[in-house]
């Protein structure tokens, strides 16, 4: 069951903030976040494990609400380098397969 991401696309000006959401209909063990730039492989941003944690990575942070089976990725004071497609990936069990959402295309303009 593929997780659902929203929005599908977002356009920002440099310095603006954005939130990308990832929802699952099933209980999750973990949520991963990746960024993919055009023509490149996805790059790991962070992983959140069940237990409802939050993590930060420079100006990018994320939360995981285990009860709601939702995760949100927060991008603050966006930079041009943040442009790309963001994918969440969900694991239902530890050591299980990773199922990716459909992606959110983020464009940061000067």
């Amino acid at each position: 069951q593929q997780p659902v991401q929203s929005p599908q696309a977002v356009i920002l000006r440099e310095g603006e903030d954005a939130v990308i959401n990832c929802s699952s209909s099933k209980a999750l063990y973990s949520v991963h976040w990746y960024r993919q730039k055009h023509g490149e492989a996805p790059v790991f941003l962070m992983i959140l494990l069940k237990g409802g944690e939050q993590k930060g990575h420079e100006k990018i942070s994320a939360s995981f609400n285990e009860k709601k089976q939702q995760s949100s990725l927060y991008l603050t004071a966006s930079q041009l380098s943040y442009s790309g497609t963001y994918f969440c990936g969900t694991e239902r069990n530890q050591g299980g397969k990773l199922i990716f959402g459909q992606g959110t295309e983020l464009s940061v303009k000067p």
Binding site: E40, P42, F87, K97, L98, Q102
Partner: protein
């Protein structure tokens, strides 16, 4: 972190032929997976490569079409068999312990 070398990076193949993609990890990983990604689309899981045993395929993917090997914890191959233009896509190898590490991908065009 792990570094994954995937080859070939791209190929153009004739329909009806087969292509084997190799994935080498520089350290042991617990899990290895093969995904397919159409341009502008998400990553679709083909199968989990199990060390020393048959791969576990997702719905819509079968062993005869996509045979997979994983002889040890650092190496796996995916073969795309009897190719048709519909198989044109990017194929990605992933190694995973906690986080996932991606190969550079193989861009396959079937003509």
């Amino acid at each position: 972190s792990a570094v994954i070398s995937q080859k070939p990076s791209r190929d153009i193949c004739q329909r009806g032929t087969s292509l084997t993609i190799q994935c080498q990890v520089d350290s042991q990983v617990t899990m290895m997976f093969w995904y397919r990604q159409q341009p502008g689309q998400s990553l679709t899981l083909i199968a989990t490569a199990n060390q020393g045993s048959e791969a576990t395929y997702e719905s819509g993917f079968v062993i005869d079409k996509f045979p997979i090997s994983r002889p040890n914890l650092t190496f796996s191959t995916l073969t795309v068999s009897n190719m048709s233009p519909e198989d044109s896509s990017i194929y990605l190898c992933i190694g995973m312990n906690t986080e996932a590490f991606f190969g550079q991908g193989t861009r396959l065009t079937v003509v």
